[in-house]
């Protein structure tokens, strides 16, 4: 026996299970852990502001993001145009505001799509095992073997850009990861006796997957989903920057960075402003993801 013995017990274990815990809500605990750290709160505030911005864009924007005004092109920031204007005289500030809609739309749609498809596949693979597991896992292997960016470029390039194509391309790339994560979590949940109890009572496969396995495997996945939104927005910006993403004149942050780069020395704000917006969004969602990870971590249950 060495000196640095780790008892490996959380205090709750050491105190024993029979101690009846006071009634408390797990939800409240999650909220408390989440809002206990300044960074998570900052992230959360950023995300909330972005969502509100997207919803109330028509009221927050000062100009129509599509109306060109060649007399006032490439202007420096002023009281009329807070962040200046672009090469065809559109108001940069308003385009960023409307760009929030596009970014969040793509972010949420692509991630939800890949999450739904990926989780269903992962759940099925873990639950049924055998050849279902083998086929689904080989499929995700194949997906993962292709470098993500090439896959996305291929789809976007072949289909020729546009918002639905971007959502499809980025969503498709995320399926493999979601499927793998769900499968791993579901496999460990499946070991529990309550799954056995469900089988013993004759529960149907659907009911078992949806009421017994999914609710227990999902919480850790929320981390992946939240962080995935940041990743997709970054991916969209990349595609639009390369010119195969969202098509102009639709205001997209990536596209704005791209079109602004020609004037980087003369008018750097054209590229910088949407760049900062992208950064804030990714940072916000990553922080929320981190916070969710801490909050749903079962190891911290009963300690904090």
């Amino acid at each position: 026996m060495s000196d640095d013995i780790e008892t490996g017990e959380t205090p709750a274990d050491a105190l024993g299970g029979e101690v009846a815990l006071p009634k408390h809500s797990e939800w409240k605990r999650i909220v408390r852990v989440f809002f206990g750290r300044t960074l998570y709160v900052i992230g959360f505030v950023i995300v909330v502001i972005l969502i509100l911005t997207a919803i109330f864009a028509p009221w927050i924007a000062t100009h129509d993001p599509y109306s060109t005004d060649l007399r006032h092109k490439l202007e420096q920031p002023s009281t009329e145009h807070w962040l200046g204007t672009d090469a065809v005289g559109r108001d940069t500030y308003s385009r960023i505001i409307y760009g929030t809609q596009i970014s969040l739309l793509i972010g949420f749609s692509a991630v939800s799509a890949s999450a739904i498809v990926g989780m269903l596949m992962g759940l099925a693979a873990a639950y049924f095992g055998g050849w279902v597991f083998a086929i689904i896992m080989r499929f995700t292997d194949a997906l993962m073997a292709l470098p993500g960016i090439i896959l996305v470029l291929l789809i976007a390039g072949l289909a020729g850009g546009g918002i639905p194509v971007v959502i499809f391309a980025l969503g498709f790339g995320g399926i493999a990861m979601m499927c793998r994560m769900m499968c791993g979590l579901a496999l460990s949940v499946k070991q529990n006796d309550y799954v056995l109890a469900g089988r013993a009572m004759g529960m149907s496969h659907w009911r078992m997957m949806l009421t017994q396995i999914f609710p227990n495997a999902f919480p850790p996945l929320m981390v992946g989903i939240t962080m995935g939104i940041g990743g997709v927005v970054l991916g969209e910006a990349g595609l639009s920057f390369l010119g195969i993403g969202v098509m102009p004149p639709t205001p997209s942050w990536g596209g704005m960075v791209n079109s602004g780069q020609a004037y980087l020395l003369k008018n750097p704000i054209l590229s910088l402003a949407p760049g900062v917006a992208i950064m804030l969004l990714v940072f916000g969602f990553n922080m929320v993801g981190d916070g969710v990870r801490d909050a749903v971590d079962p190891k911290l249950r009963g300690v904090i």
Partner: protein, 329 residues
């Protein structure tokens, strides 16, 4: 018989999100040279925390807030938990056997290395002597084919064999006290019988003291000389083993003995008498006796007065109860 360890009024509290948990709240006990002690209680009663406190292995959010742990004329609580004195004591003069040997053995290091490490560290042996000694120790605890099995990894041993290895490690430095925390809970009954027999033999052979922490009264009945019964962070009854089993006097001990089925009772002949209710929540405990809500012997005095101190009821037999149960059984 000389006293090896004398614990006085030990208090260990845990600061949890629900409030202060008084896991060990004023526990006193002593261990004599060469004695086997049983520390009995249910999970959450503070029996494990008590011995972890003596070893100073309490981690945050736990804290030893009061008490004295006298060992070799010194109060161990004066030493820093990870200071040089404590490190020289822990693992050498006081050792511990855990319930689940798999988590206390390092899975990626051979048994040999794990055993020789202690010998080299505490007894300044060189590698070769340490290895010879380790093989000898494994033979002592009945590991067949010790010389070749010593180079195996923990997962190559069965549960019972791993526990034997743990015992070998615990006795390797000729400790004064061995604490065994539920040493046989994770193994089968026939293996349990083997291990208990082994530990008893070793205690006499190397003249050490053994503290068996367990929830199973039967385990300590055969070997322990003295028994302490704990409930809700305190010792509620202590005395010589035969006395405790023949003539239990605390309502909790009586309840425990009545609630386990005995071998040979005819089926359906006797209902078990359970202890009703639940063990208390250790947060915000009332000042009265913690067993009060479950007690069938309680009187008005119990409802008013604080938790009674231990009182003697005869030959080395102490209970913490106002009621004289003997007349009422």
């Amino acid at each position: 018989m000389s006293v090896v360890l004398d614990v006085e009024n030990l208090k260990t509290y845990f600061h949890t999100e629900y409030g202060l948990v008084k896991a060990v709240d004023g526990v006193s006990f002593h261990i004599n040279q060469g004695e086997i002690i049983g520390l009995v209680g249910e999970s959450g009663c503070g029996k494990s925390v008590s011995i972890l406190s003596v070893m100073q292995l309490i981690q945050s959010p736990g804290e030893i807030v009061d008490g004295k742990i006298m060992f070799e004329g010194q109060d161990l609580l004066q030493y820093e938990a990870n200071g040089p004195q404590m490190r020289a004591t822990r693992g050498r003069k006081m050792t511990m056997i855990f319930q689940e040997p798999m988590t206390s053995l390092n899975p990626v290091i051979t048994i040999c290395r794990q055993m020789t490490e202690i010998l080299e560290l505490h007894l300044d042996m060189d590698r070769h002597t340490a290895r010879e000694r380790a093989i000898e120790l494994l033979r002592m605890v009945g590991v067949p084919d010790a010389a070749s099995r010593i180079d195996d990894y923990p997962h190559q041993f069965s549960g019972g064999m791993r526990q034997r290895v743990m015992i070998a490690m615990a006795i390797s430095c000729n400790p004064m006290i061995i604490f065994a925390d539920e040493p046989t809970t994770a193994v089968d009954v026939t293996t349990q019988a083997q291990l208990l027999e082994l530990m008893k033999d070793l205690v006499t052979r190397i003249n050490t003291s053994l503290v068996i922490v367990t929830h199973n009264l039967g385990v300590v009945a055969r070997y322990a000389q003295r028994i302490y019964v704990m409930y809700a962070g305190r010792i509620v009854e202590s005395g010589p083993a035969e006395d405790i089993f023949d003539n239990p006097q605390h309502p909790y001990t009586i309840g425990l003995l009545d609630s386990v089925p005995r071998l040979g009772e005819k089926h359906g002949s006797k209902k078990l008498i359970p202890i009703y209710g639940l063990p208390p929540n250790l947060i915000n405990m009332p000042p009265t006796c913690a067993f009060l809500p479950r007690c069938t012997y309680k009187t008005e005095k119990c409802e008013k007065e604080p938790w009674p101190a231990l009182r003697s009821t005869g030959d080395n037999h102490y209970i913490s109860c106002y009621v004289d149960v003997r007349g009422k059984q």
